[in-house]
């Protein structure tokens, strides 16, 4: 019995830490991997180029759970702090990433536009996409 509980606990723990989402570009992209720090720079509009390609970051709609997870795990900023950040950037003439209504829309455009980078649930991955980071 004790062994069963131990196995179940380990299983749940591993399951609990498994990645749910992936940062993606299209399969033709020369970029193979990105660090969380690089992704953060891209989505805070500090990094605009990589391997000679102009990057187009795509955000999911603010109401989606995936957006909360991305902001918490990659950007390390809560919504208040991000709001303050983008208001200051607005004064500097910098706009936040383009917002897409659904993760399916993000997937479609990442597939078809070089340089587009977004994040979707892992279960939506297919062979036209390249995973750069999981969270």
């Amino acid at each position: 019995m004790l062994l069963k509980i131990l196995v179940l606990t380990i299983f749940l723990t591993i399951g609990g830490f498994a990645s749910e989402y992936a940062v993606i570009m299209n399969a033709h992209s020369k970029i193979e991997k990105l660090s969380a720090k690089q992704i953060k720079s891209i989505f805070l509009m500090k990094k605009h180029f990589m391997d000679g390609v102009k990057l187009i970051p795509l955000n999911s709609a603010a109401s989606l759970q995936i957006r909360d997870s991305f902001e918490k795990n990659i950007l390390h900023k809560n919504r208040d702090k991000l709001n303050k950040y983008w208001i200051k950037k607005h004064f500097q003439g910098i706009q936040p990433p383009v917002v897409q209504a659904s993760v399916k829309a993000i997937k479609l455009f990442v597939k078809n536009v070089d340089g587009a980078i977004g994040y979707i649930p892992i279960k939506l991955l297919d062979s036209d996409l390249k995973v750069l980071y999981e969270f």
Binding site: I87, H90, P96, V98
Partner: protein, 330 residues
């Protein structure tokens, strides 16, 4: 095909984008974003009794093809002033060119800005409008030690892969585009500025520069700044020294100035602010030295709307005053 999808991308963006939010501007399309701001303040003390509608401004910016972008900002300041002490009022509706520039991005390391832009020195100067600041008043350091704007070229970017070290190399070899609308009139300004984001909480930077004023002064500047931002505490400090060669009086003069400001957020909307300022000005055989202490309160129902109140204690008590302000960024 690529252009078709880019078209669809921006079309769906238009359809489904987050609705307009105050403080984030109005996005017509990627080539045109518009914004505006204003501030209203009232100052009262033995030396002043004044209501002022200040910084009435509009701005537009956007991306252009081939990695170009632009920004234009026009401002009327002060738009309206009512001086209760002298019983006068003044309205100024002339729109001045606050910023006007074209950017070209070659890479993350090399970007080029041409036109009139905010001089990239320190923190305060880069956030010069009331609504973005945590106090209604500006430290003397930010008003009297270097030109707030530069008309010329700025080469800027990040020196490292992680975008933590940012540099600016800027130069001006002409008059300001709007030479009646700058704190220090000058026709030459060169400078280097570095900023190092040590972590999400800690940032530091330094600048050196040289400029020549209409008053035949040659001024060398050295500046350093640091910030600690870990909610609920924000500490910020900037200090500068100028060495002034006065070519009319043939004397050497100098200024030393800076401030240390702390803000404690009670919650995301309410904060207590305190600042100590020092400014020493040795010009024309006159030495002036100011110590200024400020305590204040900031209330933001949302970040783009700011209500602030403060009381200033000056080393010359005649200058003590209370200031309240209301400002909005659209």
């Amino acid at each position: 095909m690529r252009y078709f999808f880019i078209f669809i991308l921006f079309f769906t963006t238009y359809l489904f984008a987050d609705k307009y939010e105050l403080g984030h501007g109005y996005k017509v399309n990627s080539a045109l974003n518009m914004g505006a701001y204003f501030s209203l303040d009232y100052a009262n003390g033995e030396s002043i009794d004044r209501l002022r509608l200040d910084d009435v401004a509009v701005l537009a910016y956007g991306s252009l093809p081939s990695n170009f972008s632009y920004l234009a900002e026009f401002e009327a300041a002060p738009f309206y002033v009512k001086d209760y002490k002298n019983e006068t009022s003044q309205t100024n509706t002339t729109l001045h060119k606050e910023r006007m520039y074209l950017n070209y991005s070659y890479s993350d390391m090399f970007n080029f800005r041409l036109g009139k832009f905010i001089t990239p020195i320190g923190y305060w100067n880069l956030e010069p409008i009331n609504v973005l600041r945590d106090t209604s008043s500006n430290p003397l350091y930010s008003e009297d030690m270097f030109p707030k704007f530069t008309t010329g070229m700025d080469t800027y970017g990040y020196l490292d892969e992680d975008e933590q070290i940012e540099y600016h190399l800027f130069a001006q070899f002409t008059d300001d585009i709007d030479k009646d609308y700058i704190n220090i009139q000058n026709d030459l300004f060169i400078g280097i500025s570095l900023d190092y984001e040590v972590s999400d909480e800690i940032d530091m930077g330094s600048s050196v520069g040289y400029y020549e004023t209409y008053e035949k002064k040659e001024i060398s500047l050295a500046e350093a700044n640091a910030k600690y931002d870990n909610y609920p505490l924000l500490l910020q400090t900037e200090w500068a020294y100028t060495n002034i060669q006065n070519n009319i009086l043939h004397v050497n003069e100098y200024q030393v100035g800076g401030y240390l400001q702390g803000m404690y957020s009670i919650n995301p909307k309410n904060a207590l602010v305190s600042r100590y300022e020092y400014f020493k000005d040795r010009q024309k055989d006159v030495m002036s030295e100011n110590h200024i202490g400020i305590i204040g309160y900031s209330y933001r129902p949302m970040y783009a709307v700011s209500f602030k109140g403060e009381y200033q204690f000056n080393s010359d008590s005649y200058l003590d005053k209370a200031i309240i302000s209301f400002s909005v960024l659209f």
